[in-house]
Symmetry: C2
Subunit: 134 residues, 2 copies
């Protein structure tokens, strides 16, 4: 449910709806590297993504890139080495740093980025729309 | 380790240091309701906190308030009802909405807020400094 544009005090029923269970959200889709927005934090979007295989080398010149592994294992490849993440581990790729996520088995990841950030950064090809909400 | 002010490409050794294991971070302190910053995301801070008992009723007029439960159970009391969160569940309190976290048993929580946000919001009393990094 989208939060109303006017930020009135939510009722208890609405508050219950707005609670986000990340496992429930992840069960709603199967595509890999297709972030789904679950809620907003000011002008940021909070999304979940399933990763498997290698994504694409890219960088974001305007924003850091936040990854928190919820399940499985994710490798953030940097030009100068790999960062290996398991459940409960997070890594923030500094803005401007080239990186390429890779997961040998399916991994579940929480992402947080400024609204409108394309997930492919400067790379060629159509970015996946974060506009889809689940 | 603090990220250098100049955002050069991190070496693989630095990248390894910058990986954040949230359980490791939580093992480094015992105080309740004392957020410890673990990394930055642009002009936001990412922090972990241990919650037990009731915090204080407050609101943030300038920012939403992000809670992701990592372990245990946390209740976000709102004036119009409670939101009950377990591991892997998150809730974003909209800006301006009064709330009071409560945990009957110790809970571990991930917080994300704009840098400089006092954790007590508009409530009286000295806010806990998020400046402490672990």
């Amino acid at each position: 449910m989208r939060r109303p544009a006017t930020r009135r005090q939510p009722t208890s029923e609405e508050a219950s709806v707005d609670k986000i269970n990340l496992s429930d959200k992840l069960s709603k889709f199967d595509e890999f590297y297709s972030p789904k927005t679950v809620t907003d934090l000011n002008d940021y979007k909070v999304a979940v993504v399933k990763a498997k295989g290698e994504f694409v080398w890219h960088k974001h010149d305007e924003t850091d890139d936040f990854f928190l592994v919820l399940g499985g294992r994710l490798t953030i490849q940097l030009r100068d080495g790999d960062v290996h993440l398991g459940p409960g581990e997070l890594f923030v790729v500094p803005k401007g740093v080239e990186h390429c996520p890779r997961a040998d088995e399916a991994a579940h990841v929480l992402l947080i980025e400024p609204t409108g950030t394309p997930n492919t950064g400067d790379a060629q090809g159509a970015p996946t729309a974060w506009e889809e909400r689940i």
